[in-house]
């Protein structure tokens, strides 16, 4: 086969270029460690997501020192959780799946880019150096509301980040003379123990208790007020732990009212 001299040179040049590209990409993968989303994760059926240990309650979880996992569910037309709160300067591994159709998981202008395919779990690890907010969008057409599908990633300063959760409750009504019990639960999602103070207020009474919540566990605290001291009527209560606050109210009813209502019901 006759090939022109210049053409031979051109072919050789083209091959060098092609091999150069392949070497560059390979260097990016092996040398710089920019790995691709792969098939490491177990598959999960979309209709079993609610019962799943991880995706049943989409959340951020600490999995090691300076390592967090974020379990994200994409569905028409939201992301869960939203916002996704993560600490700066920590390794975050996103596990993304879809509840219904194929969605995208994309933080514009960054390397955070994955497909959310029902049945599959995409895994990608990133680290944010700076605190700040990043828009998260679905970048695969997923139906009529596709253009409204966005979420938010909030990167918090490392020392301000926690995975503390506070919940608190009292009965709605308490008969005068009985005790008003305020049950608060503090959950610590991080691995290190959490030492903190729980402050509570029921009506005009204040309470304080120091607690230590072990890593990945919860602690219950109960505050008790005498309803007779509070008096009949509606009383607001507040529980604060660090920056978290729960509020509610409890009604103290007189004996007669309670009896009357009880009578009506029966």
């Amino acid at each position: 086969m006759r090939i022109h001299q210049y053409e031979k040179l051109w072919i050789v040049g083209a091959m060098i270029l092609i091999v150069g590209f392949i070497v560059t990409i390979t260097y990016g993968s092996v040398g710089l460690g920019i790995t691709m989303i792969g098939d490491e994760e177990e598959t999960i059926a979309p209709d079993e997501l609610n019962d799943d240990e991880q995706f049943g309650e989409p959340r951020v979880e600490q999995v090691g020192e300076n390592e967090y996992a974020a379990y994200v569910v994409a569905q028409t037309f939201i992301f869960q959780p939203d916002p996704i709160e993560i600490p700066a300067n920590n390794e975050i591994t996103f596990h993304v799946t879809s509840r219904d159709v194929i969605h995208g998981f994309y933080v514009p202008g960054t390397n955070i880019n994955a497909m959310a395919i029902p049945g599959q779990v995409a895994e990608l690890t990133v680290e944010f150096d700076e605190p700040g907010e990043h828009g998260l969008i679905c970048h695969e057409y997923c139906g009529s509301g596709h253009h409204t599908m966005e979420g938010l990633i909030v990167v918090q300063p490392e020392d301000e980040f926690d995975l503390t959760e506070l919940s608190a409750e009292t009965p709605d009504t308490v008969t005068s003379g009985e005790q008003v019990q305020l049950n608060a639960t503090v959950e610590n999602g991080q691995l290190e123990p959490l030492e903190t103070t729980v402050d509570a207020e029921i009506g005009d009474q204040t309470f304080q208790q120091n607690i230590t919540v072990d890593g990945n566990s919860t602690q219950d605290v109960t505050f008790t007020a005498e309803s007779t001291q509070l008096g009949v009527g509606e009383h607001d209560w507040t529980v604060t732990v660090d920056d978290y606050e729960e509020t509610g109210s409890v009604e103290v009813v007189s004996n007669e009212t309670a009896a009357a209502e009880g009578g009506e019901e029966s």
Partner: protein, 585 residues
């Protein structure tokens, strides 16, 4: 001057004209949808509901990259086979059969798409007639079965077209024992081998999984599997769009330049490389997909990079042929020969400018193919920028330019408005640069593709240079220029068809290459061999990933419900309720 194609092969010319007519109708609708999108997504002029944007988007994709390109391809290839073998179809009824299947298929798919504009779509085959699923129709988004049936008929028609050209070639071979396959027929046959092999993916996806599922014969499917089968076909189809342009660049452009093709053997090598490499690369569209191991993505990446080779070879041959032509016309000097080219000829200028854009677009393709760089651009507006440079210009502009040369030979009429035609191709060139430049820049700052409203509530794009407003204005300006150019083209074609009492000034003869087929080894013409190797490469690239996907979550997936785009609001609402219910309990 030799006899016109229409006089020599009137029956085949009629078919080519029919195919071009279908192609141009699709082109007109697609172009109209294009400008609607350009104005809508940039928020410059929104006159449709954003939900209907996705009807427009689906139509734009299907009408342009399925109907416009492939109808043109079958017309052009029918011309190429007939003209280069100097014989008509074995049975012209068979030829019309495949055309008819393609026409019916595209009508069905087209109707089911356009029904998306109705507020009360009719019920067809047990569900609302709608197909807002885009041309990629990723399940579990679900269109009306009619859409899939239409696509399937269209594909079957295209298969039969390939078989028809093979039959014509076999008949010719018996009449001309021992002769080399004429170059244009060689290009047609190799393109079709590539198509047979690559379209297996989408045919299986539609016929085995998606269509039965949309008809409720099967209950579930595996979304990653159907998606992978689509991309098995999806990159090959890119070359199916491109190779008609290559055929014109190799056979017609050198002649228009005033010379002849530089090398026939290398043209054959280029087409063989496409047969071998264009299918086992599809996974490069799925770099961001879970469920496909990194190793398979790496293999797809290397294959893709080698696929640059035939395009590099083409760049050389085309430029060398043009230079040869220019020198025949008296051009001199290292670069001054460029001035001697027939720039007044819209057919020449259109193809040359298309080639220029193709070279530029090729480099953006390298970015897409680089698997880790792909993180930056996957599903960003950069990707449609690339597509519009490649199929939207390298192919579309070449086909339009080719029409200025070919349509007079098919109709026997003189081309109307040669100067307007020149302006038209140049306008396309300018328009595409304005539009794609904006798309590339917007894509790099993360503006996504395929969305009616790329502006979001929670954040703004970090546009490094200029502003979002400027990018939008530039995109819309480019889109408008393209639309005007497309309409000019269609008007000129229409006027030419009715320009009855005229004689075309076009010479349909194509001179043989400087270095003819006798310079190439006979093995290049051994189509069985190339098919065999291509098949083996596809098996190597796809057997394991497909088996892996099927093994992970089953051939038919894990109880994946359909999400018909037809009654979306209702379904999503029900679904939301169920979900909230499950969450509360």
């Amino acid at each position: 001057m030799t006899a016109l194609f229409v006089d020599e092969y009137p029956a085949e010319a009629r078919l080519v004209k029919a195919a071009f007519l279908s192609s141009f109708i699709a082109f007109g609708i697609g172009a109209l949808f294009g400008i609607i999108q350009a104005l809508h997504r940039t928020d410059i002029f929104r006159f449709i509901d954003s939900i209907k944007y996705y009807t427009v988007l689906t139509g734009h994709g299907v009408f342009l990259v399925i109907a416009f390109t492939i109808f043109f391809l079958v017309g052009l290839y029918q011309w190429a086979v007939t003209d280069s073998l100097e014989r008509g179809s074995v049975d012209i009824r068979f030829t019309w059969l495949w055309y008819g299947l393609m026409a019916i298929g595209s009508l069905l798919a087209g109707i089911s798409i356009l029904a998306g504009f109705l507020d009360q779509p009719p019920m067809v085959l047990g569900s609302e007639l709608r197909a807002n699923v885009l041309f990629t129709f990723y399940a579990p988004l679900e269109a009306n079965p009619l859409y899939y049936i239409g696509l399937a008929l269209f594909l079957v028609g295209t298969w039969l077209a390939g078989i028809d050209w093979f039959r014509t070639w076999w008949a010719w071979r018996d009449e001309n024992p021992g002769k080399r396959i004429p170059l244009r027929t060689f290009m047609v046959l190799t393109t079709m081998i590539m198509f047979f092999l690559g379209s297996i993916g989408v045919i299986v996806s539609i016929l085995v999984f998606i269509l039965p599922w949309s008809l409720e014969i099967t209950e579930s499917l595996n979304p990653l599997l159907t998606r992978t089968l689509f991309w098995f076909f999806g990159h090959m189809i890119v070359y199916f769009w491109l190779l008609p342009a290559y055929l014109l660049w190799y056979s017609v452009l050198p002649k228009l330049s005033g010379g002849r093709l530089f090398s026939d053997p290398l043209a054959r090598v280029v087409f063989i490389l496409f047969v071998l490499l264009s299918t086992p690369v599809g996974i490069h569209h799925q770099y961001m997909d879970p469920g496909i191991a990194e190793g398979f993505k790496f293999i797809a990446m290397t294959n893709t990079m080698f696929l640059l080779l035939p395009s590099f070879l083409t760049a050389f041959t085309v430029v060398a042929s043009m230079e040869h032509g220019a020198r025949q016309r008296g051009g001199e000097g290292r670069f001054n020969w460029l001035r001697a080219l027939p720039w007044r000829n819209p057919a020449f200028t259109g193809m040359a400018l298309a080639g220029l854009i193709f070279a530029f677009g090729g480099f953006t393709g390298i970015v897409n193919a680089g698997m880790n760089i792909n993180y930056l651009v996957h599903n960003a507006l950069w990707i449609p920028g690339h597509i519009h440079a490649q199929v939207g210009t390298a192919t579309a502009l070449t086909l339009m330019a080719g029409s200025y040369w070919l349509v007079p030979q098919l109709t026997g009429n003189r081309l109307v408005g040669r100067q307007v035609a020149l302006f038209q191709v140049v306008l396309w060139f300018v328009g595409i640069v304005f539009m794609t430049n904006s798309m590339f820049r917007a894509g790099l700052v993360g503006v996504p593709r395929r969305t009616a409203e790329p502006q979001y509530q929670g954040f703004d794009y970090d546009v490094g240079v200029g502003s979002m407003g400027e990018l939008n204005a530039q995109l819309a300006l480019g889109g408008t220029l393209l639309f005007i150019s497309a309409m000019l083209f269609l008007v000129l074609m229409l006027l030419t068809v009715f320009n009855n009492d005229s004689e075309p000034i076009v010479d349909g003869t194509l001179p043989p290459a400087l270095s003819g087929p006798e310079d190439s080894p006979q093995v290049l013409d051994n189509l069985r061999l190339w098919f065999g190797i291509a098949f083996a490469l596809v098996v190597l690239a796809y057997a394991l990933p497909l088996a892996g996907i099927a093994a992970q979550s089953g051939l038919f997936g894990q109880d994946i419900q359909p999400f018909p785009v037809s009654s979306e609001a209702v379904i999503y609402f029900q679904f939301g309720l169920e979900y909230v219910g499950a969450f509360v309990t």
